[in-house]
Symmetry: C2
Subunit: 224 residues, 2 copies
DNA sequence: TGTAAAACAGACCGGTTGTCCTGTTTTGTC
DNA sequence: GACAAAACAGGACAACCGGTCTGTTTTACA
C-alpha cells in the first residue's frame, strides 16, 4: 500500500544519471550483502525498479556493472572511511585508532556486520577475472600507500621515527581486513578492538598515555 | 590418450569411502580456486568423474557438500598449517614467524596465490547461511584459541609476560588473514613478509636478535 | 519543427543450475 | 542362494541465469 509513482501511460522522464546512480546503489548494496555471483541482475532490476533495457543500456554486462561498482563505489568507500580520516588526523596512529573505533562503534550500533566491501569482492572476484583483480589491487595499493605516506609525513615532523612506513601500512591494512573478516564471520565487532589494542602495543609509540580521549574526525563510516 | 580405467560393462566396484573422498578432494579444490557459487555440481561431477546419482547419494545437496568441505577439510587445513606448528614451536612468536615464512616461501615457489581457504569461504558464505557462518566461526575461534593458549603456556614458562593472549591471537590471525587477502589480490606473497615484520616489531619481544635462523617445523603448508 | 540519437520498456532465447527420480548393480547378512 | 539395503548410473525437469532483440518514447540540436 505504498504510494505508487503513478506510472502515467503517456508520461516518462529520462534521467540517465539518476537511473545509473540508482542501479549502482542497488548493486553496491547487493554485492556487499550477498556477493557478486549470488546477486542476479534480475534481483537488481527488481530492487532498483529498473527495466532490463534500461539496465543494459547503462551497463552492457554484469561484469561492467561490477567494475563500475568497484571503481566508483568501493574505492570511494575506502577513501572516505580510511584514507581521508587518516590523512586528516594528528598522526598515523591517531588516525588508525579513530578509524578502528569509529567502525567498531558503527557496527555495534548497527547490530550486524556485513564486512569490508573491498575484501568481500576481492575474495570472490580476484581469481575470477584479471580486470577485477587489477581494479581491486589498485584500491588496496592506494589504501596502503596513503598510510605509508602519512607515516613519512609524521616522520618529517619528527614523530614516529622508528616506524617502517611500508611495513606499518601493510600490517594496518591487513589487521583491519582480517579483523573485519572475523567480525563478519562471528557477527561480532569486538575483535576489531582486540586487534587495535594489539596494534597499538606495537612499535615505538613513545608515550602510551597521550591522547586518551577519542576524536571524531570521520564522516559516517561507509564500511558497514 | 590417457589410460582409460577400462569401464568393463559388467564390472563395478563399490567404494563409498573412496568416492566420498574423491568428491571432497575436487570440491575443496574448486571452492578454493573458484569459490562456492562459481563451482557448479556439474563441474564437480566432471572433475571427479562421478555420476550425479553417486554424488547425490553421499551429499544430498550442494550445501551439505560445502558443509562437509568446511568441517573436514578447511578445519584440517587450519589445524595442519597453523595450530599444530604453533603449538609445537619453542614459543608463540617463533611459531607465528615460522608459519608466515613457510607459507610465503610456499607461495613464492608456487608462483600464484589462491588465498586462505577459510577466509575465502568465510567471505562468500558467512552471510549466505547461518549453518555456514557457524561452522566457519568455529574454525576461526579454534585458531585464535590455540594461539592464545600457546601464549599462556609460554607465560607459565616465564616467557613473554607482557603479552595479552587474546589480543595477540586476534591480531595474529587478523594480520595473516588480511595479508593473504592482499597477497591473493596482488598475486604477490611479499606482503606476508611485510606484515610479519610489522608484527615482530610489536610487543615486548625481549631480544630482537635471537633466533635469526629459520626453522622448519611444519609439514607441507596446505594453505596455498 | 524536423530528425537522429539517446534513453528506456519488455519480451524472448539458449544455456545452465541444482535437484529429483527411476532403475540397475553391488554388497552384507541370514 | 535369498533378499534387503546400500551404492551407483543417468536421464529428466522446472527454475533461473545473463544477454539479446525489437520496438517505443524522450531529448538534444539544427
Amino acid at each position: 500500500m505504498t504510494v505508487q509513482p503513478k506510472p502515467r501511460p503517456g508520461k516518462r522522464i529520462n534521467d540517465p544519471e539518476g537511473m545509473r546512480k540508482k542501479v549502482l546503489d542497488v548493486a553496491e548494496d547487493a554485492f556487499q550483502a550477498r556477493g557478486y555471483h549470488a546477486s542476479s541482475i534480475g534481483d537488481l532490476m527488481a530492487a532498483a525498479d529498473v527495466s532490463g533495457g534500461a539496465l543494459h543500456h547503462h551497463f552492457p554486462t554484469k561484469k561492467a556493472l561490477a567494475l563500475a561498482v568497484i571503481d566508483e563505489r568501493v574505492a570511494a568507500a575506502v577513501e572516505e572511511t580510511w584514507i581521508a580520516p587518516v590523512l586528516a588526523a594528528a598522526s598515523v596512529r591517531e588516525g588508525v585508532r579513530s578509524v578502528f573505533e569509529a567502525v567498531a562503534a558503527e557496527l555495534e550500533q548497527q547490530g550486524f556486520v556485513r564486512g569490508c566491501p573491498l575484501n568481500n569482492l576481492a575474495h570472490e572476484l580476484s581469481l575470477a577475472d584479471p580486470d577485477f583483480r587489477l581494479a581491486l589491487a589498485g584500491i588496496f595499493g592506494g589504501w596502503r600507500q596513503a598510510i605509508a605516506d602519512k607515516v613519512r609525513a609524521d616522520q618529517q615532523a619528527g614523530k614516529d621515527e622508528g616506524t617502517d612506513p611500508e611495513r606499518f601500512a601493510a600490517l594496518t591494512v591487513a589487521a583491519y581486513s582480517g579483523a573485519m573478516s572475523m567480525a563478519k564471520t562471528a557477527q561480532d565487532a569486538g575483535v576489531l578492538r582486540d586487534c587495535l589494542a594489539g596494534l597499538e602495543r606495537s612499535a615505538p609509540s613513545q608515550g602510551g598515555l597521550v591522547a586518551r580521549r577519542r576524536n571524531r574526525i570521520l564522516p559516517r563510516p561507509r564500511i558497514i
